[in-house]
Amino acid sequence: MTNSWTDIRNTDLVVIMGGNAAEAHPCGFKWVTEAKANRGAKLIVVDPRFTRSAAVADYYAPIRQGSDIAFLLGVIKYCIDNDKVQWDYVKAFTNAAYIVKDGFAYSDGLFTGYDAEKREYDRSTWDYEIGDDGYVLTDETLQNPRCVWNLLKEHIAQYTPEMVERICGTPKEKFLKVAEMISECSARDKTMTSMYALGWTQHSKGSQNIRSMAMLQLILGNIGVRGGGMNALRGHSNIQGLTDVGLMSNLIPGYLNIPTEREVDYATYISSRGFKPLRPNQMSYWQNYSKFFVSFQKAMWGSAATPENDFAYHYLPKLDLPAYDILRAFEMMDQGQMHGYFCQGFNPLLSFPDRGKITRSLAKLKYLVVIDPLETETSRFWENHGTFNDVDSASIQTEVYQLPSTCFAEDEGALVNSGRWLQWHWAAQNPPGEAKHDTWVMAQLFNRLKKLYQEEGGKFAEPILNLHWPYADPEDPKPDEIARELNGYTVTELRDPNDPTKVLVEAGKQVSGFGVLRDDGSTACGCWIYSGCFTEAGNMMARRDNADPDATGAYSNWTFSWPANRRILYNRASADLDGKAWDPSRKLIEWNGEKWEGYDVPDIAVTAKPREVGPFIMNPEGQSRLFTRGMMRDGPFPAHYEPFESPVVNVVAPAIRGNPVARVFESDRETFGDADEFPYAATSYRLTEHFHYWTKHVWVNAVLQPEFFVEISEELAAEKGIDKGGWCRVWNKRGSVHAKAVVTKRIQPLVCDGKPVHIVGIPLHWGFTGAAKNGMGPNSLTPFVGDANIETPEFKAFLVNIERSDGPASA
């Protein structure tokens, strides 16, 4: 989230698209009802299904899953055509005026530089024209045909309301109504918030779905303001924390990168991370990269990380591929290239696409370690449960270790919510039975590995032998010790660079924030964006002051919000070029002639003058991007691509299947189906009664939603002779599931490109362990396809066939 949950109450219009906040985020959704009840805010829901969110919406429009980009580009076109643009914002805070390199073009669904063989782009033309002074060329009048604004207008010209209806199946008048309501938020005193979740991410072009809305929000002037923003509703209670601390194959904490093979030494690595400002006077905050990186290395390897050895740069693994994401991991298992797997706190057998492939892959492992509080299906993947897990146990030789760990109520520590708040919590009870905290489990693994290396030696032992392990009880690090490390501390005393006689901070102190981190080895910091969470003043995450002066929704003394306790990112953009709030009733920070002040921690230096430093400090431009240069693998502008399995052909680029640079393994292509064989557009989702595959272990939740079902329209049910509450079978080339049929008016057939499209909704909460009835899930059917940029699987749009059935054999 750029903003926070509590800030949603400041909005005038909530657009829920690519998510179902009421269903999947009912507690956060309270801020939508607050905005509606107290501000008269409106709620729009755009979704293939009439969801629980739609049940309380002011306006609902249907859309075919996987066509969001066409819809959103259509809205952008509507806003531009009808002059519903926050011009001052666009001109001041976006790259609309930037001139793009000659050679960049888009035609027939492809941008320049496509290599069909490698399924990737040469992105060299996707950039700005740089002047002799090293700064980007611009045309503030927006007249230059090669400026971003004009290229954008040209790019979206084809997404007329008629085209939107053809692609998305959204009736034109409904689309226009939504577009009109959204466009009103271009006014300075109107804001719109975008609430989205996995309905946008779980597509082969998920990142571009989100970009489309981000661009719309920029055009409306809604980023950085109260009640605005791009608000990703995270799908797990601490999944924000997971990405923050870099639990990704290509990241280290704080969104720093794991080096690639080509970056053989620290100098090479850091040279490509200079992030020189592209406009005069800009902050380009990533120029501090080396400070965060070196501090991280010091936190990892302590005294073993020295200036002489490039702070142990060589200890870091080097990627030979862009990422070892989950899809690649299981592909490698399936290919016999990966033999062991540690599975901590998730359930791949039900969570990852193409369950058949997951089962097959796990069966090829030599060992599998499952660290989980619950008896997951993954830990039992080898056990035959009839139709619900039809495996030949005798043929599976994988050795499975189950290490029982603890649930949140048995843990102490911080959970990071969608709004980037690190909320400390305390254990409510002791772990049951043999369950141990994950930290204890990891410490045991580390200590025993280290001992083995010490006693027996081994290849490249140094990173393990030298790992900085300063915990009071090395066998059991405590959450507050780890939190202190994440915050960072001074290794040696810090002296004033301008006056070396002056000691600013003594050695061994908690740092107050990432601003004091240095790249000379004098500071250590586990995760720079969390810096400030546990200072000398104490545990900021444990704060519980719910005072909210002037009811802005900031709650600045409630826990800690990264970065730097900032509640709304890009908050400089809440004020105009001269530093006055766009909407005085929604003041966030303002320039008082000397400094920025207000309700939030300013994004830019408090004394940075307006008209000099732009609000988007993480970009070298200092401005936001309507055109993303080469930052995204599938294009600097979003373009409509169909899902890999689509009921209709791509009407804007008929020759292209799916996103041309999406993650696809050749071995999976044969499992893709076509619309003539599998005519129905399926999608998967959660229900409010459950959380993933966890709560089916809880009796109460099992009572509230006991049994696996699929949802279909009354029309499709009639066509197929399927009864409400009766059994049906849903299948494609990857699998087949039996489910109860919920026949509902909430799913309506759509007409796309003149052809009726039926939607099959498949919720995901059932398996073969726990209190609920045994069932299957959508991942028996979903394709092994990932987003072009971050490899998120395409769970939201695929094809199936459906028929009436007598239920599973063992039901």
Partner: protein, 325 residues
């Protein structure tokens, strides 16, 4: 007005609430209470409800109830009806608005309405099994319940359920145990969208008025408060977007009242029946007093002897035994 999720209860309801506050007690009478608690109410704003069932879950948890894990029958309503363990239930209705052709997914939290004139209490034959507090809470007192099911017949909303396990009646208590110590009901506390709020009835009506105004501004011309006068008003009220058609919300009665059949049963029949039986018995006494017993005379015996003297085949009496003592 913003209502807190876990509302501070008005000062005068923070006092302990107990038997001294009964204003009605089934099949018995109670003395006029010395004080009158301020009327409380739970307001369920259907237009804010997202059907998340947190209230159902909270109800099960707070009351420590264990419902069966059921099956799916093609709808989201689970369990499929109120049960002795499910004291509150989300009922989902897919309703197409004729006026604009729009689908509306109406989600109503069903449960005891806590009528001011409670039909269950009227029907109950067991003294003290159902009580009504002066703040409006209608509560079942398990110890006194005999499981006859009369409350089921008496209720205009089809709420009470009789347990097959202990043969006692169960329904929402409005968390009388929580209210007694100044807390709101568990469902209201759990509701994430403040669709369920709790406070004094006056506050709730004022809050509802705000909500209705908001709904009218959104095109729901018939938005209104459901506080049916037929049962003297209720202490659980709904804000409905279509208050002119309560039945579309999963059969919420348009104009609930205690059934005339129940009124007849618990009214005239009860008294007339006793009277009738009394009259019958009294008539016997009077008749006996006036006319004396109808006795067999010696002549009757003689006549019988005469008539039967020659009856063929009659069996002889044992002369040693007295035939009729």
């Amino acid at each position: 007005m913003t209502i807190n999720v876990n509302p501070p209860v008005a000062a005068d309801t923070q006092q302990q609430m107990g038997p001294q506050d009964y204003i009605r007690r089934s099949a018995s009478t109670v003395p006029e209470p010395a004080r009158k608690l301020e009327a409380v109410a739970k307001l369920i704003d259907v237009s804010k409800c997202i059907g998340c069932k947190a209230c159902q879950s909270a109800c099960l948890e707070w009351n420590d109830l264990r419902e069966e894990v059921g099956v799916n029958v093609g709808v989201y309503d689970n369990p499929h009806d109120l049960t002795p363990n499910t004291l509150t239930l989300m009922r989902f209705t897919e309703w197409v608005n004729d006026e604009n052709g729009n689908l509306e997914w109406l989600i109503r939290k069903d449960g005891c309405m806590h009528c001011s004139d409670p039909g269950c209490l009227k029907a109950c034959p067991a003294p003290g099994a159902i009580v009504q507090y002066s703040n409006g809470v209608v509560d079942f007192v398990k110890e006194n319940c005999i499981g006859c099911g009369y409350c089921v017949q008496g209720c205009p909303f089809n709420i009470p359920r009789i347990s097959k396990v202990d043969n006692r009646a169960y329904k929402c208590t409005l968390c009388s145990d929580r209210i007694a110590v100044g807390q709101g009901p568990a469902c209201a506390k759990a509701c994430p969208t403040k669709a369920i709020v709790f406070g004094t009835k006056e506050e709730m009506k004022a809050h509802a008025a705000n909500r209705i105004e908001d709904l009218k501004s959104r095109g729901f011309a018939n938005a209104g408060l459901y506080d049916p006068p037929g049962v003297g008003g209720t202490h659980v009220m709904y804000v409905l977007h279509h208050a002119d058609k309560p039945t579309i919300y999963a059969g919420l009665p348009d104009n609930p009242r205690i059934s005339p059949v129940v009124e007849a049963w618990k009214g005239v029949t009860k008294y007339a029946g006793l009277a009738l039986m009394g009259v019958a018995a009294a008539a016997g006494v009077v008749h006996m007093a006036i006319s004396g017993r109808n006795r067999v005379t010696v002549e009757d015996d003689d006549e019988a002897r005469r008539l039967t003297a020659q009856a063929p085949g009659a069996q002889p009496l044992d002369p040693d035994k007295e035939p009729m003592a």
